[in-house]
């Protein structure tokens, strides 16, 4: 019917304009649904290694150079180091809390969130983490029976910006929302429409009278212009339109579900603008008005609800894509992190010793396409004299994400020693792979050569890095609610 209405040039008719507008809105929403279902390419999700600052300082992180990311309100990381354990049960744990996201921020608009200035970037990325790991790095106490703890923070002064795809996805989401709002409006009007139909059997008469009146103007204009062809077309269009409407009403609700939301919305608007008056009865319309209101209203509600459910389902998939894409900010990023670590030996908490503290900066740049990160790191680690000399690290990592898979390589140079002492050096060179194996669950593994004295089978010469880990984010599944 929508096609025929438009084909008969009824836009000059107010009621048809209302019908057409509504149908166009609904059709637009459905088109948006269809378009969203055809988005090409893989779904990019928020891949990340378990890279708590505490893990980095304790030397158990799969990577010594962290990829930038925005923290969730609450996240948990679990790590299992296969080179030092007898099984794959996690031996290292970290909890990360981003205080900013624990409370609401009504003044934080999406544009400000996606393209934050330095102050906002610091606020929304500041996170505190607490990590626990099986002792591996060199300390005074026996490593075999001790546990290391670390408290750290991370914040980004520059957080980059949203990608081109996130803008495109957000535009699609906006189209979905506008379509869904139109359906919600139609559903909300069901009681009014039903009331109108019940109270006025002349309601549909007004619909047909309006059509007659508008066509009359049209035909008069055709006569003045002596355009007989157009006149014949208009007369035919008028007859067709009236016949269709009468037939639909005669056939009751089941056969008119496609246009009823629009028709009833238009009718309600007409009725509010033009109070019904007594007068000519049209048998078919009276019959529909008498028998149909309850069924029709129920059908309108059903149709609106069904369409809404479909749109919500499609929109939900796009929302997930936007959220995933949001974890892959593009452009220049600069984050800072710091942590200190202590060891609690088997003899008790009273013998806790400070292992090390450190501070580091991580500048990075992420391309839009291909999804490549170039990340640098400059890190200072201070250790008590009883444990060792201070450490200065600098290096870089290049990571490439393809779909749900990320591979990267990194090289970090370490210089040891205090002022006036010798400065032995060692290197960490490894490759890292990450794969998302489920919602909020990531598998990560690193292979390569670690610094001297860091975790690995041969501490004196630098060990083989080999770590498996999973990362579990708790922010996405509505688990944190602060009233």
């Amino acid at each position: 019917l929508a096609y025929k209405l438009e084909g008969r040039k009824v836009p000059r008719i107010p009621i048809a304009v209302m019908l057409s507008t509504f149908l166009t809105t609904v059709a637009g929403a459905l088109t948006a649904s269809s378009a969203a279902a055809q988005i090409p390419g893989p779904t990019i999700q928020d891949l990340k290694t378990p890279d708590s600052p505490g893990f980095v300082l304790l030397g158990v992180s799969p990577s010594a150079v962290e990829r930038p990311s925005t923290p969730k309100a609450l996240g948990v990381s679990l790590l299992s180091a296969v080179t030092s354990g007898d099984n794959l049960l996690p031996s290292d744990y970290a909890v990360t809390v981003a205080p900013y996201w624990l409370v609401g921020h009504p003044d934080l608009h999406a544009t400000q969130y996606y393209d934050p200035d330095a102050a906002q970037s610091l606020r929304q990325t500041f996170a505190i983490s607490f990590a626990s790991a099986k002792s591996t790095v060199k300390g005074a106490a026996d490593t075999a029976s001790s546990t290391d703890f670390s408290l750290g923070f991370r914040a980004a002064l520059l957080e980059g910006h949203g990608s081109e795809q996130i803008r495109s996805l957000n535009r699609q989401l906006s189209a979905y929302r506008i379509g869904r709002l139109a359906l919600i409006r139609a559903r909300d009007r069901v009681p009014d429409v039903q009331s109108t139909l019940i109270s006025s059997d002349a309601g549909l008469k007004y619909l047909t009278d309006t059509i007659d009146e508008e066509f009359k103007k049209r035909i008069e204009a055709d006569d003045r212009e002596k355009n007989n062809a157009q006149k014949m077309e208009d007369v035919a269009a008028q007859g067709d339109l009236l016949a269709q409407i009468r037939a639909m009403w005669a056939a009751k609700a089941d056969s008119v579900v496609d246009v009823l939301p629009a028709m009833l919305t238009a009718l309600a608007e007409l009725s509010s603008a033009h109070p019904p008056a007594d007068g000519q009865n049209i048998d078919l319309l009276k019959k529909a008005a008498a028998e149909g209101p309850t069924r029709i209203a129920a059908r309108v509600n059903d149709v609106s609800t069904t369409l809404l459910t479909t749109l919500e389902s499609d929109a939900g998939g796009t929302v997930t894509k936007v959220a995933g894409e949001d974890h892959l900010r593009r452009g220049m990023m600069l984050s800072f992190a710091g942590a200190f670590a202590s060891r609690v030996p088997a003899s008790g908490v009273g013998d806790t010793e400070l292992l090390r503290w450190g501070f580091w900066a991580t500048p990075s740049y992420r391309l839009d396409k291909p999804l490549i990160d170039v990340i640098g790191v400059v890190r200072y680690i201070d250790r008590p004299d009883s444990i060792g000399t201070n450490l200065f690290d600098f290096g870089a990592r290049i990571a490439h994400q393809v779909g749900s898979f990320v591979y990267s390589g990194e090289y970090v140079q370490r210089i040891e020693g205090k002022v006036g002492t010798s400065h032995p050096t060692s290197e960490r060179l490894d490759v890292n792979v990450e794969y998302k194996i489920g919602d909020e669950l990531y598998l990560t593994a690193s292979f390569g050569r670690n610094f001297v004295g860091e975790p690995g089978p041969s501490e004196s010469k630098g060990g083989l890095v080999s770590i498996l880990g999973v990362n579990i984010g708790l922010g996405q599944k509505q688990t944190v609610t602060v009233q």
Partner: protein
């Protein structure tokens, strides 16, 4: 979809011919759109910024009411919070209405806010 209805609000007008305008914004880094009905007639749908509702005199004489329907999507999953901020100006004094909630029934929330003019 979580459906939220804000407490009905009243916005005070004066007797001038000055325009009364409405803006609707979404907080917590989330994305949303709205539509506005004035006395049952749809005025606008989409992103609403400084939408002209009518003059003080018109709205007051008609004892008008607006219904603002909004949909918010959970595009920032770092937090579960959502908020809708309604800013009215042009009347007796600027007014701000804030509705806050959390996503706990799927990736979207629907918010309906009724504002009467007096």
């Amino acid at each position: 979809v979580k459906e939220i209805t804000g407490a009905p609000q009243t916005y005070l007008l004066d007797t001038s011919n000055d325009d009364v305008r409405l803006s609707v914004a979404f907080g917590d880094g989330q994305s949303g759109d709205s539509d506005v009905e004035l006395d049952g007639v749809l005025l606008a749908s989409g992103s609403l910024r400084d939408l002209m509702l009518g003059s003080n005199k018109q709205l007051k004489a008609a004892k008008s009411t607006i219904i603002v329907r909004s949909l918010v999507d959970h595009t920032n999953d770092n937090t579960n919070h959502l908020s809708v901020v309604y800013d009215l100006k042009g009347g007796d004094a600027p007014a701000r209405i804030v509705v806050t909630s959390t996503f706990d029934k799927g990736p979207s929330a629907s918010i309906k806010q009724v504002i009467k003019f007096s």
